[in-house]
């Protein structure tokens, strides 16, 4: 029996191809990226080793700082706007309202659509002259508010956050809904017997018991904000005047637009570190509580 399940040859056949592929494509490139980030390199000539200069440059580059600031704003907006809305919807749907399944299906639909399509769609919605948003504003007599949402420095960042909110709200809603549904019904019945109101039940019982899934949502939304690329790349390309620039779009233009391979790699290393630190911090925070 044991000889069958510790058949060395079979284990090799089952594991080795996967492990080789995974290491070459996922793990080793990260080490390589870290190495590139220490070079002054344009991709053509040989790179010269410059230590941490790329990182120093990054923290003095107003464009890079702006991009980090923007991604922090994105993260904050996800935490304080997107997650509360998702939580509210999840709690309502989990309390067995009429049409529960239908609403869940509809809210979740945008999650599955390619971000390229979402970005194109919203750029049409925001179109200054014929877009859905301005037309609607005109129809309800608020034509003074109509403007070029993506074309102006002041509104562009907020306008690029809305599609993310729209697209991923349903995802967090679904995760939280699953979390709420997995709580034993007995607890709710006991609360009802004790005369706890719905509000009270939600804050004193449901939400505390949903902590594991809330942690997952928090990690996902913050990391998602740090990694955001597709949407910004298609919607604004980082403009106007870098007002919607995020680290990943900056990394992309630095590498493939201006051929600063070393500097671009430094930004990509920064993105990994950022994600790693935030995951650790959130895990720590939830343990302390």
């Amino acid at each position: 029996m044991n000889s069958v399940f510790s058949n060395k040859k079979a284990i090799m056949i089952f594991v080795l191809p996967t492990l080789l592929l995974f290491c070459t494509i996922v793990l080793i490139p990260i080490v390589v990226s870290a190495y590139y980030s220490l070079l002054d390199w344009n991709g053509i000539s040989k790179g010269t080793f410059i230590g941490l200069d790329n990182f120093t440059q990054m923290f003095q580059d107003p464009r890079a700082l702006k991009s980090i600031y923007n991604s922090l704003l994105f993260a904050a907006a996800s935490i304080f706007i997107q997650l509360p809305i998702s939580l509210l919807l999840a709690l309502i749907l989990a309390s067995s309202v009429k049409g529960e399944g239908f609403y869940r299906t509809v809210y979740f639909l945008p999650v599955l659509i390619s971000t390229v399509v979402v970005a194109q769609l919203w750029s049409k919605i925001y179109n200054a002259d014929y877009g859905l948003l301005n037309t609607m504003l005109e129809n309800i007599g608020l034509s003074s508010l109509a403007q070029d949402w993506l074309g102006q420095k002041d509104t562009a960042l907020a306008a690029s956050f809305i599609p993310t909110l729209w697209q991923y709200m349903g995802y967090h809603m679904l995760l939280m809904y699953a979390g709420a549904k997995s709580i034993s019904q007995d607890i709710f019945e006991a609360a009802k017997m004790d005369g706890a109101s719905r509000m009270r039940t939600a804050f004193a019982i449901t939400i505390p018991l949903m902590k594991p899934i809330l942690k997952v949502c928090l990690v996902f939304s913050v990391i998602g904000a740090f990694k955001v690329f597709d949407l910004i790349y298609v919607l604004t390309g980082g403009g106007p005047l870098f007002s919607t620039e995020v680290p990943s779009t900056l990394m992309y233009t630095t590498i493939f637009g201006t051929y600063q391979y070393g500097y671009g790699s430094a930004i990509s290393v920064f993105i990994i570190l950022e994600c790693l630190i935030v995951t650790v911090l959130i895990n720590k925070f939830f343990k302390i509580e």
Binding site: V4, F5, S6, K8, A10, I11, I13, F14, V15, L19, L21, F22, C23, T24, I25, V26, L27, I28, P29, I30, V32, S33, L89, I92, V97, K98, Y103, R104, T105, V106, L109, P110, V111, L112, I113, S114, V117, L121, K124, I125, Y130, T135, M136, W166, L174, L175, A178, P212, I213, F220, K227, F229, Y233, M251, Y252, I255, S268, I271, I272, C275
Partner: protein
Amino acid sequence: MKTAEVRLRKKTTFIRNIIIQAFLIVVAIVQIYPLIWLAFFSLKDNSEIFSGDVLGLPDKFLWSNYSKALSDGNVLTYFFNSVLVTSISILLVLILSSMTGYAITRMNWKLSSVTMTTILLGMMVPIQATLLPLFMVLKNLHLLNTYWSLIIPYVAFGIPMAVFILGSFYKGIPREMEESAVMDGCGIYRTFFSIILPLVRPAIATVAIFTFLSCWNELMFAVTFINKESYQTLTVGMMSMVGTYITQWGIIGAGLMITTLPTVIIYLVLNRQVQQSMIAGAVKG
């Protein structure tokens, strides 16, 4: 007194339900109307989009936008490429991860838990961090502008999640299943392929759906590793199409609809399974 109280409570419940339903419906409209609006303008011509009823149904349904997008806009090529890249990626992810997940969770060897940890580490890696090194490797191997330049990374990045999901399913299978198979004279391969694999069919479906969504919608690798139009996938194709047909919204809309419809159809058919696969992907603890 009692009945009045009951009646009052019923009344407040009734009103509360109406308010909740109204709220849910408003959110539903916000979530779904942009997509309906997209479907509408994919059937309109420019003059109607720009000066007609922006919000509502098209006057005449211009199905020609779709045929134009398919023929002139190359959407058919993009569509074929997306189908090809996505289906090969799904197949390879399933083959590799089902075997690896099995060896890690059910077979006895010293390094199994180290291997699992290493692979799960991959779930935390942002793909941005590997973009440039992968670009250099693919360039040196002359794989840029081939289907493999997308399939290989898609498979590699799909593996962690797949091994995780399949692994947790394997763990739930009772040992006796394997023991009796071996008693009956099955070798390890036979046990795996004809006893175990059929048992984890739901997990296989979950992984397939998950891999489909991430490959079908991927943009960063697709835009970096491919610049020949004949190999572009739908996401990249859509970007270049918008550039070409910048003033013809109807055709762009049709292209966007063609990109989106397969996903929506799969979702509507496999609703429950899709939602479960997204949940399974998240709750890795």
